[in-house]
Symmetry: C2
Subunit: 181 residues, 2 copies
Amino acid sequence: NQQVTVNYGKRGMTLEEALNVTNQYYIESDQAVIYKKPTPIQIVHVDYPKRSAARITEAYFRKASTTDYNGVFLGKYIDFEAKETTHPNYIPLKNFHEHQVLHMARIKRHGGIGFIIVRFTPTDEIYLLDASYLENRWNEAIQKSGRKSLPKTLFQEKGYLVPQNYLPRIDYLRVIKDVYF
Amino acid sequence: NQQVTVNYGKRGMTLEEALNVTNQYYIESDQAVIYKKPTPIQIVHVDYPKRSAARITEAYFRKASTTDYNGVFLGKYIDFEAKETTHPNYIPLKNFHEHQVLHMARIKRHGGIGFIIVRFTPTDEIYLLDASYLENRWNEAIQKSGRKSLPKTLFQEKGYLVPQNYLPRIDYLRVIKDVYF
Ligand SMILES: [Mg+2]
Ligand SMILES: [Mg+2]
């Protein structure tokens, strides 16, 4: 009913939750097999109590060396990173890590499809942008003291607005199919 | 020198360590981009001490819903699970999980390359076997009370012995290139 729809509507979900729901839908409808990788954890200490599950009692978050999402779609390798920005007109480059930029450049060199998905939260607009633009801006920022962010105009001119629906929530594969196939 | 070579030799490494070294070599020599996924962890409690890193103080291991390794090679999506068996002539099916078998079947249906890598530790032989054979045996074991293991003869007849060297340690992509391309 109406109330349930509202509760599960756009405003309550983070980008990650919405992408997980979307990927689950793609799997169940047999369109693609794409997953978020688990968060990398450095485990320091584990207890093994008798008659119950091993319990990690000391561990730390590690920085990811790759991107968050990968999988297969229409026989092609898919790899992307997803980020939200609270700024209406740009996303700071510091939201990405150098390892991730290098990883996406490798992916493209080996024939995979690499991109970023960015949600501008003030307007709830979600854009998809090929990883090559991130790589270019990253190198400019390092080598030539270029600007330290990706402007929204870059997404509008070189990227694609991703349709948002009830199911799939964030239909980024529709864009991928149009643009890369 | 000789001593160092021996220390880093075959006997000291688990299959996972040897595959990680291999994958690192493939990345550095720019042949492929394949990683082990992080172990999935269920985080229950995190401390955020002042002036130091967030510390996870209660967490548990979760069962993986997919396989351990994936990536891209020559434009194709690669996905596999690696296991060791201490039995000289078979590996029990219980070393795999149903989720993993279903996952590999999906991967193949969507045009990816899905396989298992199994090391028979008594002889230190490593075989690569297409995921379809695991799927068939799995279904037979469930539906027709077939045997609950994969015999080594299956690997010898339908799989491929993987060459082991110093670098790359476990050259499974050489097999993949011969068999799938
Ligand atoms: Mg991330
Ligand atoms: Mg495993």
